[in-house]
């Protein structure tokens, strides 16, 4: 790693707490941050409630979700040896999304019997995480024994397509315009109105995912040489790809469950970080987590400061950052640079 790369990584690391402070002072109401902090989280003053119950959990959730998406993208690109892979490719996001949609869809019926769970806001994310794991399970079964990256992608695309069809069907027969609007907004992704409940629900899954992915970092390194060479370096059998898939299902599934589908972070962030870590797919994991966290937090600051009749959805913001990045990729590939 060259010294300029080290400097860039240090700046990233320093930028995260700064962005966190910026997120805490951003919002329609200006608060006295110092006073709110010293009053403590039990205080009933409006500044303290805004800080401790609204802004802090939301900012921490942006960090957690962004880190999960960035790390998931880096792991997916590493496992499939493909810079265009993203965590949604293997159906994780659509599995989570479908489960969430079904709940929003039949929500009113369930609300009666599951009243308390519905109120606390953990039912939807919990079901979405289960949906993510189910989708990855289906991909794993469909790809079959000893599947290589190619078969996994094919199985993932197939499962993904099927889940998208089910989502289209659910939208088609949405019981009311209100339900449809809720589904569409959920699909666009948002961090608004999230609190400690969602954060505490997602945290263990993202941590579990991080442990699974980081424990497979040497497998990803060996895999840069190809599957046969990785096998000869000791990374043989289903254990390693399985741990990557479960890691992505846990981390990205939990991220989608609490924040909806937020695209492009998982695709763009590993690309941005790859040159800084000498293209090493192992170190790319934590740097992508860091940069994903920063990027999503910055995008959310933009969302919070955006003044309009409708809330600006964060999924739309990340897509606006992501798509021009693709233009840039194409232009630099045209100039003969490496993707």
């Amino acid at each position: 790693m060259s010294s300029s790369d080290k400097l860039a990584l240090t700046l990233l690391l320093l930028a995260l707490p700064l962005a966190l402070v910026a997120a805490l002072v951003s919002g329609p109401v200006s608060i006295d941050l110092g006073a709110a902090l010293t009053q403590g989280w039990r205080s009933e003053s409006s500044d303290a409630v805004i800080l401790w119950q609204l802004r802090l959990p939301r900012a921490l959730l942006a960090i957690l979700v962004g880190a999960a998406l960035g790390m998931g993208g880096a792991a997916m690109q590493g496992m499939l040896r493909n810079p265009l892979a993203e965590p949604a490719l293997l159906g994780v996001s659509s599995g989570a999304a479908l489960a969430a949609i079904l709940l929003l869809y039949y929500g009113s019926a369930l609300q009666a019997s599951w009243g308390s769970a519905w109120q606390s806001g953990w039912l939807l994310p919990a079901l979405a995480i289960a949906g993510a794991f189910s989708a990855v399970g289906c991909v794993w079964l469909l790809a079959g024994r000893g599947a290589g990256a190619g078969q996994l992608v094919l199985a993932g695309v197939a499962i993904n397509a099927f889940l998208s069809a089910l989502m289209a069907l659910a939208l088609n027969y949405a019981p009311s315009l209100f339900a449809m609007q809720e589904i569409v907004f959920w699909l666009l992704g948002s961090l608004a109105n999230r609190g400690w409940d969602q954060l505490l629900l997602a945290l263990p899954f993202v941590l579990l995912g991080a442990i699974l992915l980081f424990s497979a970092r040497n497998y990803l390194r060996a895999l840069s040489l190809g599957e046969d060479s990785a096998a000869s370096l000791g990374y043989r059998g289903r254990r390693y790809p399985l741990s990557i898939l479960l890691g992505i299902a846990a981390a990205v599934g939990a991220a989608v469950a609490v924040a909806g589908t937020i695209g492009f972070i998982g695709l763009v962030v590993p690309h941005l970080m790859r040159p800084l870590v000498g293209q090493d797919p192992g170190r790319l994991l934590w740097t992508s987590a860091l940069a994903g966290a920063l990027l999503l937090l910055l995008a959310d600051i933009l969302v919070v400061n955006f003044v309009g009749a409708q809330e600006l959805r964060i999924g739309a913001v990340t897509a606006f950052i992501g798509a021009p990045f693709f233009f840039w990729l194409i232009v630099s590939a045209r100039r003969g640079q490496q993707l």
């Binding site: 040896r81 493909n82 040497n218 390194r221 060996a222 895999l223 840069s224 040489l225 190809g226 046969d228 060479s229 096998a231 000869s232 370096l233 000791g234 990374y235 043989r236 059998g237 790859r274 000498g278 293209q279 090493d280 797919p281 490496q338």
Partner: protein, 254 residues
């Protein structure tokens, strides 16, 4: 260094339910440089993959120093055997030195990593490529860097699939000398080769494969006869031997 003896007993291998190797019985010994030769599709790469533990045999078995290969863990196998496939395409544009260092993964993070990497690069005359991204290397340069990855570890068994294919004649010779020295130091070296004179000059033993079967094995003088080679490759040819160096002349199609 302790050498490693590898024996194959009635080895059979299938790919997509089609047999690609059958009834292969042979022994690879320390201090020996063995070339596996044969026409395209004869099963050379499959045999090497089975030896390296990358493909599981469908029949027979492989033993390493008398221990059945299926009882050796993947991590242990990686410390016993280094393998370079025929076509290895790096997915990312790693620095050449970083790619070579991947060969040390089975040994964790040894302290003298950098010294070993530069020594391995020196073995293949590629020390000047250390800082270059591997996607900016020519085919032959990349192959030499990959060979350094093969040589950087301490595995007593070295397996390389057509290591000389992309190299210029100077680097071909240099590489064969390197493999010869590795064998002389006690390693067991197995190479798939298309270059018969090169195999004759540097190797102790030749395995001749045809359609998944072992047609002949022995010293180069035993195997490289116009009758045997002509028959297997479907050509007429001549071998003129001078001091253990074979002048091989393919004459015409049979």
């Amino acid at each position: 260094m302790k050498g490693l003896e590898v024996s194959c007993l009635q080895l059979g291998l299938e790919r997509q339910r089609r047999p690609v190797l059958s009834e292969i019985s042979c022994v690879f010994k320390p201090f020996e440089l063995t070339a596996v030769v044969g026409p395209n599709g004869a099963g050379k790469s499959s045999l090497l993959q089975a030896l390296a533990g990358v493909l599981a045999p469908s029949a027979g078995h492989i033993e390493l120093d008398g221990q059945p290969a299926e009882r050796i863990s993947p991590a242990q196998m990686a410390r016993l055997c280094a393998y370079l496939p025929q076509a290895e395409t790096p997915a990312w544009s790693l620095r050449a030195a970083d790619l070579v260092a991947l060969g040390l993964l089975p040994w964790g993070r040894p302290k003298d990593r950098e010294r070993r990497v530069s020594a391995a690069l020196q073995l293949v005359d590629a020390q000047q490529l250390a800082e270059r991204p591997v996607t900016r290397l020519s085919g032959g340069e990349l192959r030499r860097v990959q060979l350094a990855r093969l040589l950087v570890g301490e595995a007593p068994l070295l397996i390389a699939d057509e290591p000389t294919a992309a190299l210029d004649i100077r680097h071909q010779l240099q590489l064969m000398h390197t493999f010869r020295r590795q064998a002389d130091a006690g390693k067991t070296v197995v190479l798939a080769l298309h270059d018969l004179p090169m195999a004759a000059r540097f190797c102790d033993r030749i395995l001749l494969l045809e359609q998944g079967r072992l047609v002949a094995q022995g010293t180069p003088e035993d195997v490289f006869t116009p009758a045997l080679i002509g028959d297997v490759y479907g050509v007429t040819c001549e071998f003129r031997w001078r001091d253990g160096v074979a002048d091989f002349v393919p004459l015409d199609l049979l």
